[in-house]
Symmetry: C2
């Protein structure tokens, strides 16, 4: 829980500053970025906690999840290195979901009060956050149709491809990776049971489309997988990932601009 600054952060540009105008770095450093270290299974916040900060994932992976009154639970999102956490509280006074580390994880805490003070001087940071918000909204919409419209196999394929793309955007190999989450967690995310996920992995492997060793996945026929995915998905991706959207490019959209305009 040490106080540090983004410009001397060893993660360098893989995190928040990735999108920023270098000229704004000094201003970014005026935000006191408290570090939060979580061991596997620990939470950054829980449902109902007052939403006082948002978080940047410095290292590690987390899940956002909700629980019903009678104990059913669902994972509503996974958060990888460099992503923003806690934005689902933008429109609410308290966090609508809990955030739990899937492995040992380090977060940078961005207190809302500090953001409020500094965002006017950091247009590219604001842009980055708004983009992240856009992605989250789009993700929820996409998941809604993924769960509502797709078969179990299609859902798992969609999950693998999305995961692959997110890793690729961070510079990792797209066709070979180690999952940070259990079968149960994947199932919870996709509205399926862990046994179903296990069977589907076996089935896809037997069909020669993937290779599975525990949590180590290799996509052998990404083209075939992508065809399955494309047939069944509804909303073509429109919002670019933050990493693809360099500072100063086209405005998110006119509607958004008019809402956030002075």
């Amino acid at each position: 829980m040490t106080d540090q600054h983004c410009s001397n952060c060893p993660m360098g540009r893989s995190c928040l500053p990735a999108d920023l105008d270098p000229a704004e770095l000094p201003a970014l450093d005026t935000v006191p970025t408290r570090r939060l270290r979580l061991k596997k299974g620990e939470t950054a916040y829980r449902v109902g906690d007052p939403a006082l900060a948002i978080y940047a994932v410095r290292l590690g992976t987390l899940k956002s999840h909700v629980v019903t009154e009678d104990g059913r639970s669902q994972i509503v999102g996974f958060h990888l290195q460099g992503e923003i956490l806690g934005l689902d509280s933008v429109f609410a006074p308290t966090h609508p979901s809990s955030a739990t580390a899937l492995e040992d994880t380090q977060l940078c805490v961005l207190p809302v009060s500090a953001l409020q003070a500094v965002l006017p001087r950091l247009p590219t940071l604001r842009r980055h956050l708004v983009l992240a918000l856009a992605q989250e909204a789009q993700h929820d919409r996409a998941m809604m149709t993924t769960i509502g419209l797709m078969t179990a196999e299609e859902r798992l394929v969609a999950f693998l491809l999305q995961h692959s793309e997110r890793l690729a955007a961070r510079g990792f190999a797209p066709n070979e990776f180690v999952l940070r989450m259990s079968r149960e967690e994947i199932g919870s995310y996709l509205g399926l049971k862990l046994e179903t996920i296990s069977r589907l992995f076996s089935r896809l492997a037997e069909a020669g489309q993937i290779e599975v060793h525990h949590r180590h996945i290799r996509l052998l026929r990404p083209d075939v997988l992508r065809r399955i995915y494309r047939r069944s998905r509804s909303v073509p991706a429109t919002v670019r990932t933050a990493h693809h959207c360099a500072a100063g490019t086209e405005p998110a959209t006119a509607v958004l601009e008019s809402l956030t305009a002075l």
Copy 2:
């Protein structure tokens, strides 16, 4: 398609101005609100259309829906009188869904260009729109867990209660109403087939919890229904409806404020 103004609109305060500071009405009237009349089945916009305007439902009901490449389709939202339409394009240059009238419908067109010009002088309108956006994001998140976590019966109960609440917020009877959508459309919205909806209506009626005559629904045991709903839902409602949130009340949230602040 006549040009008119909000202050002499016969809908009066049931529509956009409901939340507004009366002092801002004259400024609101500088927005040219073109009228759009749709017959049942006609669309206000389709997937991929450039997002040039948002819409207020003056009269009638619409559905937002998406389609997959291989023809499956899902309804992602219904829009009642007084609600805002087209906000799902906030973060995208084109509409990610189509909007189709379920009955003869009248919309007020709010061109983005006009909004951009007038929003700085209409803080309560901007607030209204941002709240509408918040509700939509919350709705998508809730639907995601509704479809992922709930049984068919729970989903239908959730739908009926939500519908009831939305009608009540508009001053209609909460426990007796006429659905504007078919069984198939309800099913599409809930990730179920029309036969399943039909059977569930019959089953709930036989259990004495509702009364069904075609599309006329009466909730006989709203308390029982609400218990089913509460047990199975994950995210407690936090964002108030626009109608409940009078102008000048507490800020939406600190996070939001910091993002939209100058």
